[in-house]
Symmetry: C2
Subunit: 136 residues, 2 copies
């Protein structure tokens, strides 16, 4: 499989694939006589793993750990669980933060009744944190 095919097969940008190779997330594949990268199924499933994990918001470093783990089938699964659990907690925290943010923005946006900037409640609210009801 050439890089373009792998790209289509996994929905990954070609430049991204080369980037993953450069940072050591994907192993360097064999090359053809013309120096083209030549991938097999193992590469494809590894890349799918990476893409899927990225879609779920794991960082490259977390994915590196998860890949190490899956490369060594004898290791304890607890580490994968810890990584995923920690990530889940971060996502939950982010949701909570964004929810506060949304409420604050809703309050700010709702105050606009048109007019000129000098009287703008939106700009006023942005300038003065004391109008807020949440910490952020």
């Amino acid at each position: 499989m050439k890089i373009g095919e792998l790209s289509r097969a996994t929905g990954t940008n070609i430049e991204t694939i080369r980037y993953y190779e450069r940072i050591g997330l994907l192993p360097a594949p064999d090359r053809t006589a013309a120096n083209y990268r030549s991938y097999g199924d193992a590469h494809r499933s590894r890349l799918s793993f990476v893409r899927h994990s990225r879609e779920l918001g794991f960082t490259i470093d977390e994915i590196r750990s998860l890949l190490d783990l899956s490369d060594d089938p004898a290791r304890d699964c607890g580490e994968a669980d810890r990584i995923a659990t920690r990530h889940l907690e971060q996502v939950e925290e982010k949701i909570a933060q964004l929810t506060l943010l949304r409420d604050e923005l809703t309050r700010i946006v709702g105050r606009c009744r048109g007019g000129v900037a000098a009287d703008c409640r939106v700009i006023e609210a942005l300038g003065d944190h004391r109008h807020c009801e949440n910490a952020h």
Copy 2:
């Protein structure tokens, strides 16, 4: 006010203040004889505006527009409202995305029952998108 005082007064990193000046978000202040930056109240409230807007998730470019607007009190307030409304929509979309993500992660994390990596449901789920119930 020297930069350290401004930093404490607004809860902004000193390097960040200089960065904002460099990118033209804050006007360059006067200098003392020793070439130290010397700030006044106008600087402080402008920086507060910027920080508060950043906390609410506005991009630097959006903040630039909002500042332009507040610098020109005769202008129409509608633009500020549009920027804030669009941002609110983005936040809402982000929350929706993260919520799907959280559900997926919860499902994945819940499958771990210990054991070795070879049998790890977490790693399996990360490798195979078909286990997912949502688009992401």
